[in-house]
Symmetry: C2
Subunit: 512 residues, 2 copies
């Protein structure tokens, strides 16, 4: 804008001068702005001798001014897609013109110090100042530093960051807004909100333009959150003719089944096993994690693949799946997950309570501090987690009067990582025994969905629609779910007929 | 609202439960709310077993929820009218149903420590953190404590205070919002804004409901602010068939002339003389101020009327008007305001620079620390102030091709106080020599106008219209103004024919 310079005869006020320019040159009737923007106006327009650049969004005959800067700048405008995971947070800076991803950064969610999973954080939130601590942890200690690091690296002014799409599970979304979450975990599990109110940067204290639009991916229920609606957006279920089974293997497990005509969702109490939680030597899929395992059927010697090719520190989700599968096929465990006491091998040992464990890595082998082992308790925990997912999927599809044969595609999303072995996942009964080419790992679909909603208005509206249209099935009240779950707490399942591949591979080891 | 209690089968989220109630029972389609309100919802609805009271404003098919409380409360809702004067701030709590004034409180504007008048505060605002200090002074140190004292006294919850109308001069309005003011005092005197952006409680940090609507009376120019538009609203100029001259004798002097068809305004550089400023023994119209004076023509002994009937401390605006008038009529001063050196009276004395003074109160007379005197310099300052007002009014009316005979009513507003003697004000040439019954003192018209806009939507719209419709005349560029001003810097004026009453009273003392 080259504004007319004020004189005694043309002495309208600064903001009216801008409005007059907008009316005469851009054709809008009215301007809207915050008091924070107004505070910048007098200095900025004079600093540049009344030659300024404004950033605005239009809405009918009106514009909202987001930023004003001195001089004639061909500004880039940026948006940010954020996935707030219970464990990790990923921030993705996007050029809003080209839709290109400029940079990405991630870190642990600083809320972890108040609890490893959502339940512990909800409990912490009820303590004095708990909600505030949790909000500060995710905003001031996690997201804002990530943004700051990206801004510095890419030489970006936060005032040019004008749009955000944020996805997280229902608890993460609530804590992000500082809203009470205690009723999420108490029957009948009522979330405070599903769609967020209108929000701008200054409402939340995010390190972005004060007027930046903030859109939270809508939740569907207490345990099907914005990460799932965003994931479903990116997986394209809403436009698919085929039946898609979407499974998010993150800190919890959420499942969606449907196509363009309907979408059903449920949450499984899988816990954090797929991210290495609840396993004595478990860890996230980061450097030092055993991510792949194969066991020699004769010697029971394990061949390990370690992230970063370094000394092993622990085992991640994909490693555990491989390990349990290999232990089953080599007869180390039976179909109940119990270790065979008749095997005489130095990698198999039992403690005084007769609880068995398998040694993945002796400390002497790798020069590490302790042996890395997987115990029967670990296996049991993992079996319960995989059983929750399998039975959840089975119940969800059954609630529609269908079975797994109706599935055209299975998309796996979430923190379990790129090295998920589909074959092994089927063999242990995590995934159904159907055609292998139907499976695909789609990564962090929550972040991808947020990105899509950030760069496309249609996608954002679709995301809102997905939140409204998805049906939630509460598994805990579904009559057959508990039976399904118990049946699925075996390797691969009590009913081996559901897993013909496994039946054939196991041969005489098939009996429970 | 008696909300349905959530069950596993009726498990919609808290805020949707409220929206459903609103839709089914109140007939609105949508609800709007801030994140601050959302934070209260889960606890409040459960605390009261889903029996809650909401406070809302409607707008077409939508409501904005301002507050939610447990139980079934027949709440009062309150509004606040505020007059932010350069010197004093008045806060007025109003019951929005009955429109009754519940309570009033006032105090000095804490900004005074940064400068007595707007010019000094504007200069201070350009220092580091100056703007912030000034904003904190008026909000945190002045208005919020006044509100708090009223809430405690009347047992009111700040969340029930949902609407505010605030009037102040252009500088006060800008500093209230923390907006840069330096260009108000630099030619061509451009204000940053005249109408304020949309504001709610939390934008400003006022001690009211976070969602409370805040309306700032619009300004007209750098030195005709919201106090004047609010004053004009209360004076009813906009609806009058008669020609009204409105004079605000506050820290500065602003004048409006007009009727329902047009309104012209101007600002006079009168300074703070009418509030006792720039006068050696001057003070505000508070306890100890000499507010009325008459002088015995023979003895030159002054009869004083003192506010609070206490020992005199100084003299306020109305007292100075009386005093100068009485000095003129008794021949103590001539029409230039110079003290007659030929008078032999112990109340008249001259210093080594030959500057005369008149003793209003000897310290021995009242047992006070120093004599209270008025010097020729004080008189000169006051004459310049009254000259600015008179010549401003004359120029404004002349700009319409009229003269004082066109005036049907003169309304005097502002801090000069109830005891303004109209007759004396005319005799010294502050006010025009027209029929006395045309004059009325209307008090704090800024506060009255704010109150009207608070309790009536029509009045609020009218206030906005007044801001848009009033014409501003910049006196400093008006060709005849300087001559008018110089002519008015006499008692009462160089052209005595404009003051027939004075001419007759003065008799042979008429010559300059």
């Amino acid at each position: 804008m080259e504004l007319d310079k004020p004189t005694i005869d043309d002495n309208i006020c600064d903001i009216d001068r801008i409005e007059r320019y907008v009316r005469n040159n851009l054709g809008y009737d009215e301007i809207d702005y915050t008091v924070e923007l107004l505070r910048k106006v007098p200095e900025v327009i004079r600093e540049s001798d009344f030659n300024v650049t404004i950033t605005y969004v239009k809405k009918k005959n009106k514009i909202t001014i987001l930023n004003i800067e001195p001089g004639n700048n061909e500004n880039q405008l940026y948006g940010v897609a954020i996935d707030i995971g219970t464990t990790s947070v990923v921030v993705c800076l996007v050029d809003l013109y080209s839709k290109e991803i400029i940079d990405k950064a991630s870190s642990g969610n600083a809320q972890i110090k108040y609890g490893a999973d959502v339940i512990h954080r909800i409990i912490y939130s009820t303590k004095k100042n708990g909600l505030k601590h949790l909000r500060d942890a995710v905003i001031d200690e996690t997201i804002n530093p990530l943004l700051e690091s990206i801004y510095i690296k890419n030489n970006i002014d936060k005032d040019n960051v004008v749009s955000l799409v944020i996805a997280g599970n229902t608890t993460m979304s609530s804590l992000f807004l500082g809203v009470h979450t205690d009723y999420l975990r108490q029957e009948p599990f009522i979330p405070p909100f599903l769609k967020s109110p209108k929000l701008i940067g200054k409402d939340i204290g995010l390190n972005v333009n004060d007027s930046a639009y903030i859109f939270l991916a809508p939740s569907v229920a207490s345990y099907v959150g914005g990460d799932i609606t965003a994931g479903v957006l990116s997986a394209g279920i809403w436009t698919s003719e085929e039946n898609i089974l979407f499974i998010d293997l993150g800190t919890n497990g959420e499942i969606v089944f449907g196509n363009k005509d309907y979408m059903m969702s449920c949450a499984c109490s899988a816990g954090p096993a797929f991210e290495g939680g609840g396993i004595s030597c478990g860890m996230r899929a980061s450097n030092g994690a055993i991510e792949k395992v194969s066991i020699d059927k004769e010697t029971l010697y394990p061949k390990l693949s370690i992230i970063g090719d370094d000394k092993p520190i622990g085992i991640c989700g994909s490693g555990i799946i491989d390990l349990i599968c290999q232990m089953l096929l080599s007869g180390v465990v039976d179909r109940r997950g119990k270790i065979n006491k008749d095997l005489n091998n130095d990698r198999i040992r039992f403690n005084e309570h007769e609880i068995g464990e398998y040694v993945l890595a002796f400390k002497e082998e790798y020069g590490i501090e302790n042996d890395i082992t997987v115990t029967e308790v670990d296996i049991d925990n993992f079996i319960r987690a995989k059983g929750a997912i399998y039975s959840g999927a089975a119940t969800l599809i059954e609630s529609l009067g269908m079975d797994f044969s109706a599935i055209d595609k299975v998309y796996i999303a979430g923190g379990i990582g790129n090295n998920l072995n589909i074959e092994n996942s089927i063999l242990i009964g995590l995934l159904p025994d159907i055609e292998r080419e139907k499976f695909a790992y789609i990564g962090n679909s929550s972040l991808v969905g947020s990105y899509l909603a950030l760069v496309s208005k249609d996608a954002k509206m679709k995301l809102q629609d997905i939140g409204n249209e998805m049906t939630y099935v509460e598994l805990s009240v579904y009559p057959t779910y508990m039976d399904e779950f118990i049946s699925a707490c075996f390797l691969p399942h009590t009913n081996i007929e559901q897993f013909p591949t496994v039946k054939e591979l196991l041969g005489d080891k098939v009996k429970i």
